[in-house]
């Protein structure tokens, strides 16, 4: 019995060294060497300072920007240090009220927009950090953004089209637009 406990403990320590230290360290070494941008969070730099990650959404409420999906992170939206979904059930009576608020948020600066709001704009993502919106969700906001920026709608629409990501290899996932990237490009428009 004692010998077995000793073997078990030594084996655990050996595996801790192999799978818990050597393995992650060598993966880190290779990752930093081969993919330094990705392995450090895909950070977008401006003037030497990080202003966001390509993969992590940010919260926008200014009408001149495209807005991302609702986020259920606490205590404020798009809190990247505490990812979370809403975990609200379809049958939860509070959910329609929350969705009503989300609808109102889009309607208030854009009251004459009569199209139906795409579902992804009024539902919280699983992580609360979803960086993307659907093409329909971008289309829905073009009018508001163009008006707030005093730009022609066609110009904004062309920009959205330029930042559209299609399905990976033509089949995987869904078509989408990265909100942060699109907004940065908007600010860059002259």
């Amino acid at each position: 019995m004692l010998r077995t406990i000793l073997s078990a403990t030594v084996l655990l320590i050996v595996f801790t060294i192999i799978t818990g230290i050597i393995y992650p360290l060598s993966v880190t070494g290779l990752a930093q060497l081969l993919f330094p941008f990705q392995s450090n969070g895909s950070l977008i730099m401006r003037e030497g300072k990080p202003i966001g990650s390509l993969l992590i959404g940010q919260y926008f409420d200014d009408p001149k920007y495209f807005w991302g999906r609702p986020s259920a992170t606490q205590p404020y939206s798009y809190n990247a240090s505490s990812s979370s979904g809403s975990n609200m059930a379809q049958s939860n009576p509070a959910l329609p009220c929350v969705i009503k608020e989300r609808i109102d948020r889009f309607k208030s600066p854009d009251s004459d927009n009569s199209s139906r709001i795409p579902i992804d704009l009024v539902t919280a993502s699983g992580s609360g950090l979803d960086p993307h919106i659907s093409p329909a969700a971008a289309e829905y906001q073009i009018k508001r953004v163009a008006y707030a920026r005093k730009l022609e709608e066609a110009k904004v629409r062309a920009l959205v089209a330029a930042y559209m990501e299609t399905r990976q290899f033509g089949i995987l996932g869904e078509s989408r637009v990265n909100v942060l990237e699109l907004n940065m490009a908007l600010d860059g428009l002259k």
Binding site: A8, V10, P24, Q38, L55, N87, T123, I171, R176
Partner: protein, 581 residues
Amino acid sequence: MTVNGIEQIVLYLIILGILIKPLGNYMANVYEDKNLGLINILRPVENIIYRMSGIKKEDEVSWQKYATDVLLFSLAGMVILYLIQRLQSILPLNPQRLSSVPPDSAFNTAVSFVTNTNWQGYSGETTMSYLTQMAGLGVQNFVSAASGMAVLVALIRGFVRRKVNTIGNFWVDLTRTVLYILLPLSFVFSLILVSQGVVQSFHPSTDVQLMQPFVSANQRVSTTEALTIRTQTIPLGPAASQIAIKQLGTNGGGFFNTNSSHPFENPTPLTNFLELLAILLIPAALCYTFGRMVGDTRQGWAFLGAMFVIFVPLVFLDYYFEQQGNPYLSSMHIDNLGGNMEGKELRFGIAMSVLWASATTAASNGSVNSMHDSFSPLGGMVPMWFIQLGEIIFGGVGSGLYGMLVFVIIAVFVAGLMVGRTPEYLGKKIEAFEMKMASMVILIPAALVLMGTAIAVIIKSGLAGIANPGPHGLSEVLYAFSSAGNNNGSAFAGLGSNNPFYNTILGIAMFFGRFWLMIPVLAISGSLAKKKFTPASAGTLPTHTPLFVLLLISVILLVGALTFLPALALGPIAEYLISIR
């Protein structure tokens, strides 16, 4: 359902199907100690490990000794993992200066990772230091998966061997699994993940200046002024190396709180596809390994047939449910055709979220890429039922197939009863002892799930955790105990379970759900190994035919349905009926 969604699911099934044979063959080579090609360079490491820990690889042991070794190894793992969490604040590699994990949560997490459940009561990015993640949780991701596979191999030996008392050497099976199967696959997989954007870094988290600062309505600087949020904290850590093994080893414990819905854990549709593939890859391939080791690959294909016949229709059914919009929102001015997107990530869409939910619960993986709590009533029932079927439709690595073999024993027994013959499987007679052990394997998880749920819903601290009102609240509790009792690890995550009551009771459920199944399984193996081989005669039931597959499926579905239908009727089914009123 969209054409593209169906195409993705079909593509997934095809690629999974193609990989079964080569990997299954390779794993059989590992366990039969044959030539491993390039991986042979790791052979000296294996011998060094044995020398350091005083293990003689020729020593073969009885089932009792094998079981003792598994248990002691797991207990040692639990103690070490508990201590690492409790001492985290004074250990190195803790750049966020996280405090030590509270005792109840540390106990729950230690049991959770050692039992290959990986239920997460905690939130990764705010609770666990880099050291705890990689040297604590990460290590158990490897060795708990390997323990499950070792027990499977021991059971297979029971079928293969004749008139002997030994079923192999646990330390050797464990070491070979980690070294030759899990480690090489994880290494390659983690680098692919990084290339797509999964983080792998020891830097502390980075603060970035938000492009557009905003006022947080919930937070106030003073009574009159709300707080303006100007920065975002981007978490980092050695995530990719952890995620690779958590997918491959049917572990499922995420590096970040929201698991594989987090963009750093699963950034692109490609990573999603590969992580999904990793969930079912080893459990499916082990069926082929089994077939080869018993000398008749048709037996393995028969299991795969049964698994796919149950899996595929339920995936499409679930896809159908989730593609329907939420009926409670039908009067609102929204485009509800996009399906039930609450809790789902846009880059995956409905199809890949549903396929994941099905695969992760069919296998006892338990990672998630969408929030199951926000699924439609019936859409959420499918994953829950996959768990309740006993984690044998693919199931956990090793544990899934040994669970399936137990159902096979029941199926041949039922068939034997019908014709009044002593049932046999692979030339071994199935007698009273095997049947007793098999019944335990089926009854224990069912009892843990139903009794645990019953206790939780009559106790105040159990009810306090419920997040959603109505029948869905019961579903949350039922899901939690299904997940713990069957070592899955996914959750209806609204349930507030990081408290002493749930941490303790779920910890106990996970413990018994793992080891009280392993021991009877090893007992079956020991008993079978002692028996002589009975050659097949005209009266022997062939176990590779469609007829037998059908019988096996019926037994699985009957047990699963009869045991859990009453509970499901009070939860998801009631919730559905109310929603269509």
